[in-house]
């Protein structure tokens, strides 16, 4: 752990109202968050009293760029918004564009979309469980879960040809079929992953490290979630049964039975359970969809010009509701494409959750919303009492958190 490095008299000079409080800039480069983001944390003693966000470090102007590219080209561009829920982005985008047209999308394509979307959900949730294990100081869980993640990545590669950017969704269909001889392999492996999810649930329930770091940490109340318009597993862990797949079915979700997993406590522990249970329900969905998938074509050929109009749509990405809005002027180039990712929707909630927690809980609580911004590796603290300013790397903060909860443990 690093001692205060530097003393600056003028630090926080404009923050006289916080005279007994400390200012901790968190980010923009910090590994608790997979992408750059900046949080200014105001502390009283060790307790966080206020948080102010500053994002946009990886804002690439995709919405502006979309207005200079063709509808089809944008499918590839929006897929690259995110490396983890890449299919969700391309799916939401093509679904929005299809909303402007009146084509009947082939049923088989809708089933393939569902299967790949659920594979992606399994992948994203496994990734998150592993990361949470890492931040809570339980690296064995991280290693086990990420080993299992390889299984689902291999499946995605078998279906789509790529591990990360599936490039599968296209306007009015999908680009690759799932051949019958692949079904057995998919079933066998998703079943194995569902078994693993049960196994991890057993660990989560009994392992002291996880219990100490996640139980009653980051408690989100249902009314707060509602008020701050939170989405995804976060609200389901708080007890709200809000899931686009069930509420406003898209792709083939109208035909496939889906269990909406909810928990009542709203803490990180409930979130772990929700995400692990959703791995099981995703595996069930894939099982059902493979058995009931109709035969037939997988895509339509459509002209490049999209009819005039506006359309808003949303899907349930692994992290929550992913919203797309498109406006067409009748040409082959969109007038406007708007994307709202689940992380932006959950950010106000994360800021609220951090209040009242200690610095040691920052990585766990921030990871809880499964933030998707970039990779940060440094954070600096300002103590307004002593006017000290110092820096910690993310690893030092992680060690600090572990030490605080388990002082006897050697790290």
């Amino acid at each position: 752990m690093t001692e205060p490095k530097e003393t600056r008299k003028e630090a926080g000079a404009g923050l006289i109202q916080y005279s007994t409080e400390n200012l901790v800039p968190f980010g923009p480069i910090h590994p608790a968050l997979k992408e750059p983001e900046y949080f200014k944390l105001y502390l009283r003693g060790e307790t966080i009293v206020d948080v102010i966000p500053r994002i946009g470090y990886v804002h690439r102007g995709l919405e502006k760029a979309a207005e200079q590219r063709r509808w089809t080209q944008n499918t590839y561009m929006f897929e690259r918004t995110c490396g983890i829920c890449s299919f969700a982005h391309s799916l939401a985008y093509v679904q929005a564009v299809e909303g402007l047209t009146s084509y009947e999308i082939p049923q088989r394509a809708l089933y393939i979309r569902l299967i790949v979307a659920e594979l992606e959900r399994i992948h994203s949730h496994l990734l998150w469980v592993g990361l949470l294990g890492h931040w809570a100081g339980f690296d064995t869980l991280f290693m086990w879960v990420w080993r299992d993640r390889e299984i689902v990545l291999d499946l995605v590669e078998a279906v789509a040809g790529n591990r990360v950017h599936k490039s599968l969704a296209t306007i009015a269909g999908v680009k690759k079929d799932i051949p019958d001889n692949m079904k057995g392999k998919i079933l066998e492996r998703t079943k194995h992953l569902a078994d693993r999810a049960y196994f991890y649930k057993g660990i989560v329930d009994t392992e002291t490290t996880l219990l100490a770091r996640t139980r009653k940490v980051g408690i989100l109340k249902a009314e707060t979630a509602q008020k701050l318009c939170a989405v995804g597993p976060l609200v389901r862990a708080a007890g709200l049964a809000r899931d686009v797949r069930a509420d406003d079915p898209y792709a083939a979700y109208g035909d496939v039975p889906i269990d909406v997993v909810t928990r009542g406590d709203g803490d990180v522990f409930s979130l772990l359970h929700v995400r692990l249970d959703e791995i099981v329900t995703a595996a069930n969905c894939i099982d059902y969809a493979l058995a009931h998938m109709p035969s037939g074509p997988i895509r339509l050929k459509i002209p490049p010009n999209i009819p005039v109009g506006e359309y808003a749509t949303h899907i349930e990405a692994p992290r929550g509701e992913l919203f797309y809005f498109v406006k067409s002027n009748g040409t082959a180039i969109p007038e406007r494409v708007k994307a709202r990712t689940p992380t932006l929707a959950n950010l106000p909630t994360a800021l609220e959750l951090l209040k009242g927690h200690t610095m040691a809980d920052v990585p766990v609580v921030l990871t809880a919303i499964d933030p998707c911004f970039g990779c940060m590796d440094r954070l600096s603290f300002v103590d307004l009492d002593t006017r000290n300013q110092w820096s910690w790397t993310g690893e030092e903060l992680r060690q600090y958190g572990i030490k605080r909860y388990f002082p006897e443990r050697k790290t």
């Binding site: 102010i52 946009g56 509420d247 709202r340 929707a345």
Partner: protein, 160 residues
Amino acid sequence: MTSQSDDLIRNIEGTVKGLGGEVQSSTKDAITVKLPVERLIEAVRAVTERYGLSHLSTMTGLDSGDNVEVLYHFWKGDVIASLRISVPKSITHAPSIVEAVPGAILYEMEVHDMFGVVFDGNPWMDRKLLLPDNYPSDLPPPLLKGTKSSDIRKAVGVER
């Protein structure tokens, strides 16, 4: 489609007409209405409190020539209700809905960054959320149609 969502859409139509608004499109599971700016808060309160569409999915800004349009997308069940206001580019002020919908705070900042609309009453309107700190104040907001991508790149120092 459930009769519930049908009723919901009929109710919103009635409320909006009562507030001097205009129904622009209405299908079985989506409705878009246009409202006078000064009746926005009333309409938002009606939609969120009376009809339970408490979830604001997001806000979208649109450049429509002389005006900037702002859409508020509310979601409940299988219904997406979009409320639209139109703000002249010469004024660019609109009321903030943060008091009625606290979750709107970052969406308003985003529309402020990208379209230059000032939401009166949003406590964080003086901060930037997405734009770089060196985005020049004399360059129009980036998502307005008149702002060229090349000018933005030049201004923030990433011109190839």
